[in-house]
């Protein structure tokens, strides 16, 4: 049975539609991220699940029971807040026990469970510390423990790692994943950081302007984005407007820079039988060459010049200026070819490694 079931969820703030018809299910023991840029409605969805906002319409079921209309304290969910919202007037153990106390758990069991959960979050012996005596990472763990100790059906996260520095954030991500596997509690994690979402979650829900764009595993979404927005938001994307020559059920033939290339594009025909579409390609799939290659109908090629070269440790990134768009090219360093700023180059990529989008890219 689904732990959380969201149907046609809609939220309006005055004239602004924050969430527009969201539908998704979360299964038991899953780690699901809601990913989207700021203002995409992801926090609003989370707050509706928690009970801090009531939806304009639609339903939210937790463990098969409709929760719309019930108060936050009546719901079997716990939240890790963006700024953690730890109680500064209580010590670590009192913070963690707060929820158990409200549920009338007796003192001995409270203490036993607190010690247990402190062990899980690697803070054994920290019970009597004050909140302001803890580092940022330790506070994160207390906030997590305070939610986990109640063993809710689902723990909600409102970007709690956003304030940490990169190194600590990566460490905490890893720990979060470990703890989730260890406890088996369902996590619903909201973030705008695609790196966090991709590395921790089983599935991602990508939001744009209040609407769900795509749901799937990180790999599915990265390799098969179903809109230009998703492709750009999850990873980098180069995209060029191209002229449609012919579209069939299975593929589309486009012309770019004088070359015709046939791309696999199931289900595209009809809507864009003529006109132009966007062809997108990941920076890693693009190659740079000094000489022009022969086309044979499978490879795109555009000539340009290197505008910038960025050494990034693991790889080298080039920005190539062409008459169409600027291209970002990531070179894995395996090639002995090295380009300098101002070099004339040919940007090439294979048609089968491209995405086609009709919606346009912004």
């Amino acid at each position: 049975m689904s732990i959380v079931k969201v149907r046609d969820l809609r939220k309006e703030f005055g004239d602004v539609v924050a969430v527009e018809g969201a539908n998704f299910d979360i299964e038991e023991g899953e780690f699901v991220s809601i990913l989207g840029p700021s203002g995409s409605g992801k926090s609003t969805i989370l707050r509706m699940v928690a009970g801090f906002e009531s939806p304009t319409s639609g339903s939210i079921e937790i463990l098969g029971e409709e929760v719309v209309g019930t108060a936050p304290f009546e719901r079997d969910v716990n939240m890790v807040f963006q700024d953690l919202a730890l109680f500064p007037h209580l010590d670590v153990a009192e913070n963690i026990q707060y929820g158990l106390k409200q549920r009338g758990v007796n003192k001995d069991e409270r203490q036993a469970r607190t010690e247990e959960i402190l062990e899980v979050v690697d803070l054994a012996g920290y019970g009597d510390r004050g909140i302001d005596q803890l580092s940022g990472g330790e506070q994160q763990r207390v906030a997590l423990a305070r939610a986990l100790v109640n063993e809710p059906s689902v723990v909600l996260f409102d970007e709690p790692l956003a304030s940490l520095d990169r190194k600590l954030r990566q460490h905490m991500q890893f720990e979060l994943q470990q703890i989730q596997e260890e406890t088996g509690i369902t996590f619903l994690y909201v973030t705008h950081d695609q790196e966090v979402a991709m590395s921790v979650s089983d599935r991602m829900i990508v939001l744009n302007e209040g609407a769900v764009e795509q749901i799937g595993s990180a790999e599915e979404i990265y390799t098969d984005p179903n809109s230009a927005f998703v492709a750009q938001f999850i990873g980098d994307l180069n995209s060029v407007r191209s002229e449609v020559v012919e579209a069939t059920e299975e593929s589309v033939e486009v012309r770019l820079n004088g070359r015709s290339v046939r791309l696999p594009a199931p289900g595209l025909s009809g809507s864009t039988a003529s006109g132009s579409i966007d062809v997108g390609v990941r920076p890693r799939k693009v190659r740079l060459d000094r000489r022009s290659s022969n086309g044979d109908g499978e490879v795109f090629e555009i000539d340009g010049s290197v505008q910038n070269r960025m050494y990034r440790g693991d790889n080298v990134a080039y920005i190539v200026d062409t008459e169409f768009e600027e291209f970002l090219v990531v070179d894995q360093g395996d090639s002995e070819k090295r380009f300098e700023i101002g070099d004339d180059v040919y940007v090439t990529w294979r048609g089968e490694e491209s995405f086609v989008f009709t919606g346009g890219v912004n």
């Binding site: 928690a50 009970g51 801090f52 108060a71 936050p72 304290f73 969910v77 716990n78 939240m79 807040f81 963006q82 700024d83 919202a85 730890l86 109680f87 500064p88 007037h89 010590d91 153990a93 009192e94 707060y98 929820g99 409200q102 549920r103 019970g127 009597d128 004050g130 305070r146 109640n150």
Partner: protein, 303 residues
């Protein structure tokens, strides 16, 4: 032309003054803090010492030294007035804290026109204290507004005496000190992180539980500030009880005022003043120490 040279000469002087001061940190501190310290010494410390000095004398100096003035405080008459004053001050404080907190809380949480409401709360301060007291006399007196309203509503028959009672004084004191307490309450509630309340509710606390376990302890510093701001002046009040209480409700502030202005017994007045100051300072210190101790004792053991 000449102003130019004057200006540059002035620049030169000020530069040399700055240079002179740069190497003399003590002189700098003296110049910065001196005027304030001087003012405090002249208008607070010196008068205080004069008062303490007078309290130990039989008359205006030159006179003999005595403890008589302090012993007289413990006569039943004065003790009962001090007790009455204490009760009135406590009642005032309790009422002001209760109403003031309620007012500040609803201003922050339930209202959009917070600034306007805050202005309305402070507005009475712009009117003279005495004028506001006479307004209350108008309301409370025999043919006053309150009598008229209650008669019209049929709650009472005929003219009722509200003035010159403990209750009248209490109303006046609460009215006067309420705005003063609302400000620190407002500040502490306003600056409290509202996420904490959401966190409490998320963890299963109902609204009342969340208020008592989170909001109240988080705003206790504001409550203490408001409490002291009200309790201390209420304890020393003399205009309000004089106007609204008269002989029906004598507070110790009135007695002191009488000693100086009518009985011309400055020594006894001074002794009363010193004694009351000590009582106030001592109770604040006891409260503060109790609070600190609670913190120290609470930390290691948890709960």
């Amino acid at each position: 032309m000449s102003t130019g040279t004057l200006g540059s000469r002035f620049d030169g002087y000020s530069r040399s003054v700055v240079d002179y001061l740069r190497d003399r940190p003590r002189l700098r501190v003296l110049l910065l803090a001196g005027p304030t310290a001087g003012l405090l010494i002249a208008f607070f410390v010196v008068p205080l010492f004069i008062m303490v000095w007078y309290a130990f004398m039989t008359g205006l100096p030159p006179a003999d030294y005595t403890l008589e003035n302090f012993l007289r405080i413990f006569e039943p008459l004065y003790l009962s007035i001090i007790l009455d004053t204490l009760l009135l001050a406590v009642a005032t404080t309790v009422l002001v804290v209760a109403f003031g907190y309620l007012l500040a809380y609803s201003m922050v949480r339930f209202s959009r026109k917070t600034t306007l409401l805050l202005l309305l709360v402070i507005l009475p301060f712009w009117t003279n204290y005495i004028v506001r007291m006479y307004a209350w006399i108008n309301i409370l007196q025999a043919d006053g507004l309150l009598n008229w309203v209650l008669n019209s509503a049929g709650v009472i028959e005929g003219s009722q005496r509200f003035m010159f009672s403990h209750e009248a004084v209490l109303v006046g004191l609460v009215y006067v000190w309420l705005p003063l307490a609302v400000l620190p309450f407002y500040a502490s509630i306003k600056t409290m992180d509202e996420d904490l309340i959401e966190a409490a509710k998320d963890l299963g606390a109902g609204p009342l539980k969340a208020f008592f376990t989170v909001t109240l302890p988080m705003t206790k510093n504001g409550i203490y500030a408001g409490l002291i701001l009200v309790a201390v002046p209420a304890f020393g009040a003399f205009v309000t009880p004089a106007l609204l209480g008269g002989t029906g409700s004598v507070m110790i502030g009135m007695v002191i005022d009488n000693q100086f202005n009518q009985a011309f017994n400055w020594n006894f007045g001074a002794a009363l003043g010193v004694f009351l100051s000590l009582v106030v300072v001592a109770s604040i210190m006891v409260a503060a120490l109790a609070g600190v101790e609670e913190k120290i004792l609470k930390r290691p053991g948890g709960e």
